[in-house]
C-alpha cells in the first residue's frame, strides 16, 4: 500500500517522554516534567488523529505496517508490526484522547506530590504500552502491551509505595493479571500449534474456512475460553475482578485513565479483536456472555453499599465492563465497543470529578464525610451530574445509547436471550440507584466532613501531604488545568452517544466484524453482522419491541433515580434501617461477599503453609538433605568400624595376613583341582 502512516510513532512518542522523565526528570523542575509529559502525549494524540484521518481518507482499508523483526525461531515468527482498522481507530482515539486529557488533569492533581516526575514517567509508559496493545497486528505484540499496561498499573497503583496497602494492591493487580495472562498464553500456544501464526490477518484467513463448532467443544472453543480467561483477568471479570477495587489505592487520575477508561477495557478489545474465533465457538460466546452478565449484576450489588466514593466507581466500572462482555458474548461486538467508548468518557469523567471532589475536601474519600458540595464546587458538580446521568442511562446522554444497544442485542441476538436482558435491566436499575446515591450523598444535604481536618486526614489517607502543606483551609474548586478536562469529557459524555444513532457506529465498525463470516452459515445460527444487516431496515414488530424494551430500561433508570432520591435525600435515616433490617445480607454485601477473604483462605494461605512446611522443610530439608547427610553419616560409621581392623596389635595383623593367605591358597587350590 502506498500510504505510510508511521503508526510506530504513536506508541514510541510517549515512550520517549517516559524515558526522558525517567532518566532526567529527577533534575527537572515540575514545569519541565509536565511540559515533557504533555508534549509527548499530545504529540501522540495529534499523530493518531492525523493517521486516522489519513486512514479514513483512503477508504479505510485495513492498514498493516511492519516495523522490525522481533522473534524468529524454529519457523515461528512474530514481528513488531502494527495494524489499523476501524476497531483500532476507535480505541486509538479513545486512548490517546482520554489519555491526553488525563495528562492535563494530573498536572494539577499531582502538583504537590513527591515523585512528580516518576508519576508522569509511568503515565507515559502506560500510554506506550496501551497504544502498542491497541495497534498490534499480532497477538504477541498485543501481549507486549497487555503485560506492559499491567506493569504500568502495578507501578501507578503502588505509586505511594510507602503505604503498604498501596504496595500490596499493586502486587495483587499484577499477580491476578498474571493469572489471566496464563490463560491468554495457553490460547496463544494453541494458536501457534494449530495455525503456526499469531498474526490477526493470517489467523482470520486461515480460520475463515472453518465451520462453527456446534458441538460445544473444539479447538476454537477452547481457544476462545482461554482468551476469555485472559480478558477476565485484565478487565476484572468474575472471578478475577478482585484486584480492581483495591487498585483504587492509586492516585485518582490513574484510576480514571487505567482502571476506568482504557486498560481495563483491553479485555473487551481483545475479545472483539478475536471475534473471528468467537463467532465460530458459540459455547465460548455463551461463556463470555454469562460471565459478563453475572459480573455486571454482582459488582453492581456491591456498589450499592460502598461508602468510599472511588470504591463505588470501581465496582460500577466492573459492572459496566460486565455489560461490554455481555455484548461481546451475544455477538454484538460493535455494541460492546460502543459502550466501551462512551464508558471511557463518562467513567473517566466520573473518576476525574471524584478526584476533584477529593481534592476539594482535602483527600477525603468517604462519602459520609461529604455532602452539600453542590454550591462549593459547581463545575465539578455539573460535570459530575452529566456523567451520572450518562451512566445511569438517562436519554439522550451517551450511556443511554450504548447501554440500550447492548440490552437490545442481548434480547434480540441469536446468541442472546431474555435472561441476559432481564439481568441487564435490573443491573441498569441498580446502577442508576447507586450512582445517584453517590450523587446525592456527595453534593446534596449538609456538609458532614471538616475540610481542615480533611487536610490532616489526607496525609495518612494517602500521600496527599501536599494538601496539608498547601495551606488552604476549607473546600475549594480545583484549578483550571483540572477543570478543563472535566468539561471536555462532560461534553463528550453528553453527546458522545449520538454517534450511535441509526447504527452509525455499527456500520462504521461493520467491516471489521464482517470480515470473516463462519463458513456454512446456513447450518449455523446467522452471524451477528448478518443480523445487523437484516435488522437494518427492521420490520415493524421488531421496532415495537425495541422501543418497548427501551422504555423499560429508561423506567428502570428513573426508578433508580427516584429511589436514591428517596433514601439519600428526602429520608436520609432510612438506609440505616434497611441495612439493619437486612442484617446478615447487608454485612455480606458490605464486605463484598467475603470474596477476598475466601481467596485468601482457600488459595493463598494453604499455598504459603504448604510450601513452607511440606516442600521446603518437608521435602527439601527433611527428605533430600536428610538422606544425603545420613548417608554421609553412615559412611563415617562404616569407616569407623573398618578402621578398627587396625587394632594396633601385631598378632591381630598377623591373623589377618594368615587368614588372607589361607583364602588365597584355598582359591588357588580350588582353581588347580578344578
Amino acid at each position: 500500500m502506498t500510504l505510510n502512516l508511521h503508526l510506530w510513532l504513536i506508541p514510541i512518542l510517549p515512550l520517549i517522554g517516559a524515558a526522558i522523565n525517567g532518566f532526567l526528570g529527577k533534575r527537572f523542575s515540575r514545569q519541565a516534567v509536565v511540559a515533557v509529559a504533555w508534549t509527548f502525549s499530545a504529540a501522540a494524540f495529534a499523530m493518531a488523529v492525523w493517521a486516522v484521518s489519513q486512514f479514513l481518507s483512503v477508504g479505510s482499508a485495513p492498514y498493516t505496517e511492519v516495523l522490525a523483526h522481533w522473534i524468529r525461531a524454529g519457523g515461528f515468527q512474530a514481528d513488531f508490526a502494527f495494524y489499523l482498522d476501524q476497531l483500532s481507530v476507535v480505541m486509538l482515539l479513545v486512548v490517546t484522547g482520554v489519555g491526553f486529557l488525563i495528562h492535563l488533569y494530573s498536572a494539577g492533581y499531582m502538583w504537590e506530590e513527591g515523585g512528580f516526575y516518576r508519576f508522569f514517567c509511568y503515565l507515559n509508559l502506560f500510554m506506550f504500552f496501551m497504544l502498542t496493545l491497541v495497534l498490534a497486528n499480532n497477538y504477541l505484540v498485543m501481549f507486549i502491551g497487555w503485560e506492559g499496561v499491567g506493569l504500568a498499573s502495578y507501578l501507578l497503583i503502588g505509586f505511594w509505595f510507602t503505604k503498604d496497602s498501596a504496595a500490596s494492591a499493586g502486587k495483587k493487580a499484577f499477580i491476578v493479571n498474571r493469572i489471566g495472562d496464563f490463560g491468554f498464553l495457553i490460547a496463544l500456544f494453541l494458536l501457534i500449534k494449530h495455525f503456526g501464526s499469531l498474526n490477526f490477518v493470517q489467523l482470520s484467513t486461515s480460520i475463515a474456512p472453518m465451520g462453527v463448532e456446534t458441538a460445544g467443544t473444539g479447538l476454537l472453543t477452547s481457544i476462545g475460553l482461554l482468551l476469555m480467561v485472559g480478558a477476565a483477568g485484565k478487565s476484572a471479570q468474575i472471578p478475577l475482578y478482585v484486584w480492581l477495587p483495591d487498585a483504587m489505592e492509586g492516585p485518582t487520575p490513574v484510576s480514571a485513565l487505567i482502571h476506568a477508561a482504557t486498560m481495563v477495557t483491553a479485555g473487551v478489545y481483545m475479545v472483539s479483536r478475536s471475534h473471528f474465533i468467537f463467532e465460530r465457538a458459540p459455547s465460548a460466546m455463551m461463556f463470555v456472555a454469562i460471565i459478563g452478565t453475572l459480573t455486571a449484576l454482582f459488582a453492581a450489588t456491591i456498589g450499592i453499599v460502598q461508602t468510599d466514593i472511588k470504591k463505588v466507581l470501581a465496582y460500577s466500572t466492573v459492572s459496566q465492563l460486565g455489560y461490554m462482555f455481555m455484548a461481546c458474548g451475544v455477538g454484538a461486538f460493535s455494541a460492546g465497543i460502543f459502550h466501551l467508548m462512551t464508558h471511557a468518557f463518562f467513567k473517566g469523567l466520573l473518576f476525574l470529578a471524584a478526584g476533584s471532589v477529593i481534592h476539594a475536601v482535602g483527600g477525603e474519600q468517604d462519602m459520609r464525610q461529604m455532602g452539600g458540595l453542590r454550591s462549593k464546587i459547581p463545575v465539578t458538580f455539573w460535570t459530575m451530574t452529566a456523567a451520572t446521568f450518562a451512566i445511569a442511562g438517562i436519554p439522550p446522554l451517551a450511556g443511554f445509547f450504548s447501554k440500550d444497544e447492548i440490552l437490545w442485542r442481548a434480547y434480540s441476538s441469536p446468541y442472546g436471550s431474555w435472561i441476559y436482558w432481564l439481568i441487564g435491566v435490573v443491573t441498569a436499575f441498580i446502577t442508576s440507584f447507586y450512582m445517584f446515591r453517590l450523587w446525592f450523598m456527595t453534593f446534596f444535604g449538609q456538609y458532614r466532613g471538616t475540610a481542615e481536618s480533611g487536610g490532616a486526614h489526607g496525609r495518612d489517607s494517602h500521600g496527599h501531604d501536599a494538601h496539608g502543606g498547601h495551606g488552604h483551609g476549607g473546600i475549594h474548586e480545583s484549578p483550571k488545568v483540572m477543570l478543563i478536562p472535566l468539561v471536555i469529557l462532560a461534553i463528550l459524555s453528553v453527546c458522545g452517544g449520538l454517534v450511535g444513532i441509526h447504527n452509525r457506529f455499527e456500520n462504521f465498525l461493520a467491516p471489521v466484524f464482517e470480515s470473516a463470516h463462519p463458513a456454512a452459515a446456513e447450518s449455523a445460527p446467522p452471524s451477528p453482522s448478518e443480523i445487523q444487516h437484516t435488522t437494518q431496515p427492521s420490520s415493524e414488530e421488531e421496532k415495537g419491541t425495541e422501543t418497548l424494551l427501551m422504555g423499560i430500561s429508561i423506567l428502570a433508570a428513573l426508578a433508580g433515580l427516584i429511589l436514591a432520591w428517596l433514601l439519600y435525600y428526602s429520608r436520609p435515616h432510612l438506609p440505616q434501617r434497611i441495612a439493619n433490617a437486612l442484617g446478615g445480607l447487608y454485612t455480606a454485601v458490605l464486605n463484598k461477599y467475603y470474596v477476598d477473604e475466601f481467596y485468601a483462605a482457600v488459595f493463598v494461605k494453604p499455598l504459603i503453609a504448604g510450601s513452607t512446611k511440606i516442600l521446603w522443610h518437608g521435602i527439601d530439608q527433611g527428605v533430600i538433605d536428610a538422606t544425603i547427610d545420613n548417608s554421609a553419616e553412615g559412611a563415617r560409621e562404616i569407616s569407623d568400624s573398618v578402621r578398627h581392623m587396625q587394632s594396633g596389635n601385631l598378632r591381630s595383623y598377623a591373623g589377618w595376613i594368615a587368614a588372607g593367605a589361607a583364602l588365597v591358597i584355598c582359591y588357588m587350590v580350588w582353581l588347580g583341582i578344578r
Partner: protein, 172 residues
C-alpha cells in the same frame, strides 16, 4: 622299615617336638633352646638327604651364630616369663583357623600332588666342589649382593642398637 625311615622319623619327631616345645614354653630362653634342638635335628635331616654342606652350615650359622645372637639378646634384655595378656582376639578367632585351614590344604597338596618320588639316603649328589662352582659362577651376583645385605645389617644394628645421640651427649 629301613634304617633311613627310622632315622627320618626319629629326627622328625625330635624336630616337631622341639617346635611344639618352642610354642608351649613361656620363657624365651627355653624357646630359644628348643629352637636350637629343632635346627640340630633339621641338620640331621639334611644329612639324610645327602646335603652335607647345608647341614654343616645349618649347624654353624643357624644353631651357632644366629641362636647365640638370640640368647645374647634375651640375656641382654633379661626378658622374663611372658605374661598372659589377651591383646588380640583376631589372631585366635581368625588367624588360627586360617592357619589350620591353609596348612591342611598345603599339607594335602604336598602329600598327594607334590609329584615327588622317594629317595634313598644321601641321594643328592652335592659335593662342595660343584656347589662352590655354582655359587661362585652362576650365582655370583646374588652372592656378591649378599655382601650389601650384610652391610646393611651391620649399619642397622649399629644405628638401632646404639643409644640415641642425645643421651650420649648428655652423658659426655
Amino acid at each position: 622299615m629301613s634304617l633311613h625311615l627310622v632315622l627320618f622319623i626319629s629326627f622328625g619327631a625330635v624336630c616337631v617336638a622341639g617346635a611344639i616345645n618352642l610354642l608351649v614354653q613361656r620363657h624365651p630362653i627355653n624357646s630359644a633352646l628348643s629352637l636350637v634342638v629343632v635346627m640340630g635335628s633339621l641338620a640331621g635331616e639334611y644329612l639324610l638327604l645327602g646335603a652335607e654342606f647345608v647341614a654343616v652350615v645349618q649347624v654353624i650359622v643357624y644353631a651357632g651364630a644366629i641362636m647365640v645372637l638370640f640368647v645374647f639378646t634375651i640375656m641382654l634384655l633379661n626378658a622374663g616369663e611372658e605374661e598372659q595378656t589377651h591383646g588380640s582376639r583376631v589372631a585366635l578367632l581368625i588367624g588360627v583357623p586360617g592357619m589350620v585351614l591353609g596348612s591342611v590344604l598345603v599339607t594335602w597338596v604336598l602329600f598327594s600332588h607334590s609329584g615327588t618320588g622317594s629317595v634313598a639316603a644321601g641321594a643328592l649328589p652335592g659335593p662342595p666342589k660343584t656347589l662352590g662352582r655354582l655359587l661362585f659362577h652362576d650365582f655370583l651376583l646374588p652372592f656378591e649382593v649378599t655382601s650389601i645385605l650384610i652391610l646393611i645389617a651391620i649399619m642397622g644394628a649399629v644405628v638401632l642398637a646404639a643409644r640415641p645421640r642425645r643421651i650420649q651427649k648428655r652423658e659426655g
